[in-house]
Amino acid sequence: MKKNIALFVCLLVLLTAVSAYAFGKLQVVASVPSLASITESVGGDNIKVSSITRGVQDAHYIEAKPSYMVTLSRADLLVYSGMELEIGWLPILIKGARNSKVTVGSEGHLNVAQVLSEDEILGKVSGEVDRSMGDVHPLGNPHYLLNPYNGLKAGRLIAGKLAELDPDNKDEYEKDLEKFQAELKAKIEEWEKKAVPLKGGKVVCYHPHWSYLLDWLGLENDGYVEKRPGIPPTARDSMKVIKKIKEKNIPVVIVSSWKEPSKARKVAEASGAELLILPGEVGAMPGTDSYIEWIDYLVDTLASSPAGKGG
């Protein structure tokens, strides 16, 4: 019996050692699909990427499932959005994964929010913050990849980190980065042409999710259906928004695909605006399977909406 137990323990220890070297490719875990897609683009065939969350999930409200810990326990690199987007689950996963490669301060721990300078951060709350203000992000809006210029910066940062962790393939990462940047820059030019009619247009959003996208496209966000972020609006709040939309003739109400749309729909119907349900992340809707496809979908949908037709 003792022999069998000893054999079992030896086998498990061997498995631990083998699992660390079982994959020739660099194992990358991204917190959200948009980062996974960018990482895949700049990492090419030398890496294997997985995303903890799916596009249809709201990354603010993920449970720290032990299966995610298993994924993270095998990672060489963790790539995440930061700015407290993942505060409800990523710390538990890092702790549970027991992988010293990806703990805070380790080489394989990459907070992509560092690509933003202070003045590029939108939605940063100045002064005192408390929870009577709703689900505010004190460090600012973490959905910065909705501006593709930030996607360019993220690609550069991630490619640099991959080259640092895997110097043998540095040249290939640089090539893949160049290819990604060239493709994205060409698309940005195309998107900005499409978005010309949107400039100066007004929209109302359900939740402050879209700030970076609207800012980039020159659309003005004229209020939110949620009076306080993360707190569903009361009937009175909705009435106020409906009145405003009617008075200002705002043509579009935007809601993320992962939000329950009924309240936004009621506001849109009562005010005569068009409701746009937009994919909140890569993979949230068909035709948004990569970062570029996602932004493509967003720009196309907005440009062909009443917001892009002068109301």
Partner: protein, 386 residues
């Protein structure tokens, strides 16, 4: 007269500079830095309960009639340095004052997939024992946990957890406990430690369904006395008593990928057996279980039900003297059960309102309770484990 005027003039002239220097002074001069303060949160639980009986059958393990501050707890968490993180939980009740519920450190980075906790902690026996009171789905802990641990197992101890490299999540925990729980341990010698083993398995059955199955075993030398107020010695003919507790836990959860914020379903249960090995002669076990279901049908609303049962054989009544012996007689083979039904309104992660109805039976006596509980958290509270 001239001199005070000169002083006043000098003060007026230099005042702006004094103010300016105060503004620029930092911790290097003041020695007061808030940069590394721990994340602090305070949780408070209030309840009001109305009972069918004037005297509750089991007040120390459940709820009492009237309005009560059930618990106020302060939690502080912070990384100690590059290698350790630390957590401190001070919990206070109206009757028992403030106690250190937890105060421990956890390793942050070891070269192997192991983490080590050391200090006073809620020990890894099953799942429910790891919950603080404010994290529980019902207003009070399950009957069987209250019977065996009274109501939780939080010992000064050291635990090591290994993430076993298998395709699913398998966590093997081993622990050495100080063994101070007066019902289970409190051995005669200072080095009479208790030992704990827990195996936790989690399988993702699909993207939406998760199954958790665990087993725990705990054993340790017990003091040769009864856990009454006088610590009455047991028979002089008894040389050694060893406590043995084993348990199994099951947790099944459904949360859809799309709209997971709005709907979920959890089924959870644990079975525990505690027995004494008195001079190599094992007693019949104190045993029991609970099963609870929680259905979240909107973002803020949940319906919950729980059933709990325990049975305490006659020869254990002196070692596990709950519920009150005065009420039920000292030498009965005693069993009890509790049905609980609750509706919870959870407007945010930081506040919850719960209405709960309990039907309690101990022996042949019944009690009916209606309770309302308020659960609020302020400050920076770390997320709870899955």
């Amino acid at each position: 007269m001239k001199r005070p005027c000169l002083y006043l003039l000098a003060l007026i002239v230099f005042l702006p500079f004094i103010k300016a220097s105060a503004q620029t002074a930092d911790a290097s001069a003041t020695g007061i830095s808030r940069s590394f303060n721990p994340a602090i949160s305070v949780n408070t639980l209030f309840y009001a309960m109305s009972s069918s009986e004037d005297t509750q059958m089991w007040p120390e393990m459940g709820l009492e009639s009237g309005m009560h501050l059930q618990e106020a707890s302060v939690e502080m968490t912070s990384n100690v340095d590059v290698y350790l993180t630390s957590k401190l939980v001070l919990a206070g009740t109206e009757e028992e004052g403030i106690e250190f519920e937890e105060a421990y450190v956890t390793t942050l980075r070891l070269p192997v997939p192991v983490s080590i906790r050391a200090g006073k902690m809620l020990n890894t026996f099953g799942r429910h024992n790891l919950y603080h009171l404010h994290h529980m789905a019902f207003a009070e802990p399950p009957m069987i946990l209250a019977q065996v641990f009274g109501p939780d197992l939080n010992e000064v101890s050291m635990e090591a957890s290994w993430l076993v490299p298998v395709p699913w999540y398998m966590d093997l925990t081993g622990g050495v406990l100080n063994g101070s729980n007066e019902y289970l341990f409190d051995g005669e010698e200072q080095d009479d430690y208790a030992y704990l083993v827990h195996l936790d398995n989690v399988w993702g059955l699909s993207d939406e369904w998760t199954l958790r199955l665990g087993g725990s075993f705990l054993t340790g030398e017990k003091g040769l006395y009864y856990p009454d107020e006088d610590r009455t010695p047991v028979s002089a003919e008894i040389d050694e008593i060893v406590s043995e507790v084993w348990g199994t836990d099951l947790h099944l959860k459904w949360r859809p990928l799309e709209g997971g914020k709005y709907r979920s379903f959890t089924l959870q249960g644990e079975y525990l057996e505690a027995r004494l090995n008195i001079d190599d002669d094992r007693t019949d076990p104190l045993r029991g279980y609970f099963v609870q279901a929680i259905a979240q049908f909107k973002q803020k609303y949940r319906l919950q039900a729980r059933y709990g049962f325990f049975n305490r054989p006659e020869d254990l009544h002196l070692y596990f003297p709950r519920p009150l012996e005065a009420e039920f007689g000292p030498s009965n083979d005693l069993d009890g059960e509790r049905y609980s039904f609750a509706a919870a309104y959870v407007p945010t992660e930081f506040s919850a309102y719960r209405i709960q109805y309990n039907i309690i039976r101990v022996g042949d006596d019944y009690e009916y309770q209606v309770a309302a509980q308020l659960n609020v958290t302020i400050g920076s509270h770390p997320a709870h484990k899955y």
